[in-house]
Symmetry: C2
Subunit: 501 residues, 2 copies
């Protein structure tokens, strides 16, 4: 999840000044409206050390009326807190109706810092997560709005900031030995954070990841996120009160998306000679691994998503050409049929989940829910917002059973797509591949890009990660797909081997 986030985002000073002033006015107005609507609001700031939580909280509260909010800083538990269960201090610090409570660090310490420091034991984790989920569900069920922000910086950026703080005598005391330890073991901390984000990114209290390298960019994104969410909640209540239940406003498109795709290097390519040599070697390897997974009873799920003409078909062909057809199945996904339409949207995919020892390849997948269904309005906004969690749960259920779950996004740019569309139209043998719908979808490129970016961040999990395939070069793309599958199967086989020892 986090490794997919582009941390180089910035905003120029002029834009920041102008936009933040506007956002500030909006926030001030929304604060008054939330008060009038008696909406309690909780804003949670989490993030790596030195990611700038203090600075950002300070910027966020500037435009607000100080009589209407409180900031609660979760310092180390005092005597009162230590003598009670961990959620007690947060339960007692929940905001009254119409008030905003801002948390500088929060109950998430229990499953991040405390886990890192081994204060929270492994066997306590699941219980702690379930306590947190109950806590948030109880509050949102009663009408509390929970906005959770995760401020993210890289290991290098963190080190730089710690150093800078240490150089100044007035700030040096703020960097502790624990901070340095977390920087040295940044990768371990990141894994813990990722799991936390995955397990608590719910429909009722979702996370927003804030790229916090550039402070101005972060401040704008935070203000925009809070403003959009409050706007939504205020409008929803106003509409509900007016009795018109069907006209619920759209949940705001998150501004300042975590633009994963914009960071993809599409110049990567491969020459034909190298391609042929690698293809041959990888296909043979895969053939061998296929019999190994059959022997070891490992189920394998491989999902393909990507732009139209992104090269899914070609990649799947190269993936399967040397495999024993009794051991794999390709499931093409198009619009649901009559039987599928009258079931839960995941039902048809559950039906095609592979049995132990088999490979199920999906040409387009359950992610249609958060792409085409979202964009075309085939399901409600609440439906697709909820779907990230539902999909993560489905993939986790398979992974916990021992399945390998691999997901590809075949990425090309808009020019390359146009080139391929035209080529298809001109070639009689390929004309069937291109329809008016493809051209229509192309017009919605930006909307799709927004949806795909959100999807990649919310559903790239440790147990079912996304692989983004640079697809402008078909040779490069096909080899990357094969390499990824081979690597994932080898890793799983090795894992099983070492468990048996």
């Amino acid at each position: 999840m986090l490794e997919k986030v582009d941390l180089k985002k910035t905003v120029d000073k002029e834009t920041y000044k102008r936009e933040s002033a506007q956002l500030g006015e909006r926030l001030a107005l929304l604060q008054r409206e939330c008060k009038a609507e008696k909406i309690p609001v909780m804003i949670v700031f989490e993030g790596e050390g030195a990611a700038g939580k203090g600075v950002q909280i300070n910027r966020l509260i500037q435009p607000l009326d100080p009589r209407g909010f409180d900031v609660y800083a979760s310092r180390e538990a005092g005597e009162e807190e230590k003598m009670r269960p961990f959620l007690w201090r947060y339960w007692t610090k929940t905001p009254a109706d119409g008030r905003i409570m801002i948390y500088d660090k929060s109950w998430y310490g229990k499953v991040t810092v405390d886990r890192f420091d081994k204060i929270t034991k492994r066997h306590e984790l699941t219980g702690a997560f379930s306590d947190i989920l109950s806590f948030e569900r109880q509050l949102t069920d009663s009408g509390v709005v929970i906005i959770k922000l995760f401020l993210h910086i890289s290991k290098e950026e963190q080190k730089k900031r710690f150093k800078r703080l240490c150089e100044n005598r007035e700030t040096a005391w703020r960097v502790t030995e624990d901070d340095w330890k977390r920087n040295r073991e940044y990768d371990r901390f990141l894994l813990i954070t990722e799991e936390m984000l995955q397990r608590t990114d719910t429909g009722n209290a979702p996370w927003t990841i804030i790229e916090a390298t550039d402070r101005n960019y972060a401040a704008m994104k935070i203000m925009a996120t809070v403003a959009d969410r409050l706007q939504y909640e205020v409008s929803r209540r106003q509409l509900e009160r007016s009795g018109n239940s069907r006209e619920v406003p759209k949940i705001p498109q998150e501004r300042f998306k975590n633009g994963v795709l914009s960071g993809v290097d599409l110049t990567k390519c491969l020459e034909q000679d190298e391609y042929k040599e690698k293809l041959d070697r990888l296909q043979k390897k895969l053939e061998y691994l296929h019999s190994e997974i059959y022997r070891l009873r490992i189920p394998v799920v491989i999902g393909f998503e990507g732009w139209d003409a992104g090269g899914k078909g070609g990649a799947i062909k190269r993936l399967t050409s040397h495999l024993d057809p009794r051991g794999y199945k390709v499931n093409p996904t198009s619009a649901p049929n009559d039987e599928e339409r009258v079931h839960h949207y995941l039902w048809r995919f559950w039906n095609n989940m592979p049995k132990a020892g088999h490979i199920a390849i999906f040409d387009r997948t359950w992610y249609g829910r958060v792409m085409v269904e979202r964009i075309e309005g085939f399901c409600s906004e609440e439906d697709w917002r909820r779907a990230y969690q539902e999909i993560n749960e489905m993939e986790a259920h398979m992974a916990n059973f021992g399945a390998v779950v691999i997901k590809f996004w075949l990425h090309i740019d808009k020019d390359e797509q146009e080139r391929r569309f035209k080529e298809r139209m001109e070639d009689p043998a390929k004309q069937w591949k291109i329809t008016d719908e493809d051209w229509r979808n192309r017009e919605k490129w930006d909307e799709y890009e927004t949806a795909v970016n959100e999807m990649l961040v919310r559903t790239s999990t440790t147990y079912a990660p996304w692989t983004i395939v640079e697809g402008n070069s078909k040779y490069y793309a096909r080899i990357k797909v094969l390499e990824t599958v081979v690597k994932a199967l080898e890793d799983k086989i090795e894992e099983i081997g070492s468990e048996k020892k």
Copy 2:
């Protein structure tokens, strides 16, 4: 939970014939309406062996149109099922829109029978429960109605039924060695079942316990439960479609309540001599235990509920009279004040949760949510339905932290209440204790009894059980309260002692 259920309920043949015919007609009609509304329905039958699942399913389907339902019998997992994660078979067996799927045993096998047989390991349990909760939440979020029935019989009844089956050559094969084992270890099985019911009794998919000793009674209760729930779901959709969101129909009062209170023996009493002697001994013991829990840093939560004039005040007085006032606090609960009203309803109770080593006594409690607030309409029906789970979660959070949680229901009958009310009115020293509101509440006795019965069953948990105090004799009641507290504290202290060894 289950030990509070009165298993002696019966219905006479005439009533059964008449009512079941009516209920059958209603069910047939509702099935057609669910089809028209495209509502998918899942009805789960769980229960002890020989509780009569097969018989009851058969009775339930009699009035239904066979083209609109299926029965899925969860026999042992076949080859296809074993090669996939445990929810796969149930995901693929979810009903289409407008159809009813009846499950003869279900996904709950994973956390009951399989746990009993040690197929599901201890460390897998939390994961399995969370998978089950996700599964049900995903389905109900998408509009599926889930009705979960638990058919309950006693150990003796089960033994009798097994024997009867064994006596007949045609049915003897149905009783396996596993069945006998579960009967011999009925108490262990019951604990496993209780935990399952507690952890999965959610607002979106609640359990109904069916007293299954008398088959006719069970059949009627099942039909009524299913009919009431379907009626509610059909009406809700019809109203939603008509656009009038504020007029959501009442969720049906469950018929055939698990009448815990009707089984309470109110003739129990105690003579003054014995009372004084016991009181003295228990109070001294409690004084000692109070210092022990302080030393061991055990927090103690004691909640008092009961009928007006049930004797709460007197019992609390005897409980605290020998305690060091620095180590306990009595929290009287009346209508929420301004500050409390603008917070979550549990907030004020969280604020008063004891710290480690202290006792917090609540004179009336958070259970007001599912009694007075329910009956007077101070919260919505959805609010109090959700509250059982919320309350269980709060108590679990305290108990997991190491707290002792004790809850008393002080029970008297209606005549005794009248006698005490009149006595209060006549005695100038007690007149302040009686108000018009008490007389008004008395008129709603039956409504309260329904609410209390439901509360006792849904929130009597292994970690925070209810104790029903037979209160017609004040002497008896006070001693029972003291004995219960002493016993609970001793048990906890012993538990900690044995952990340290």
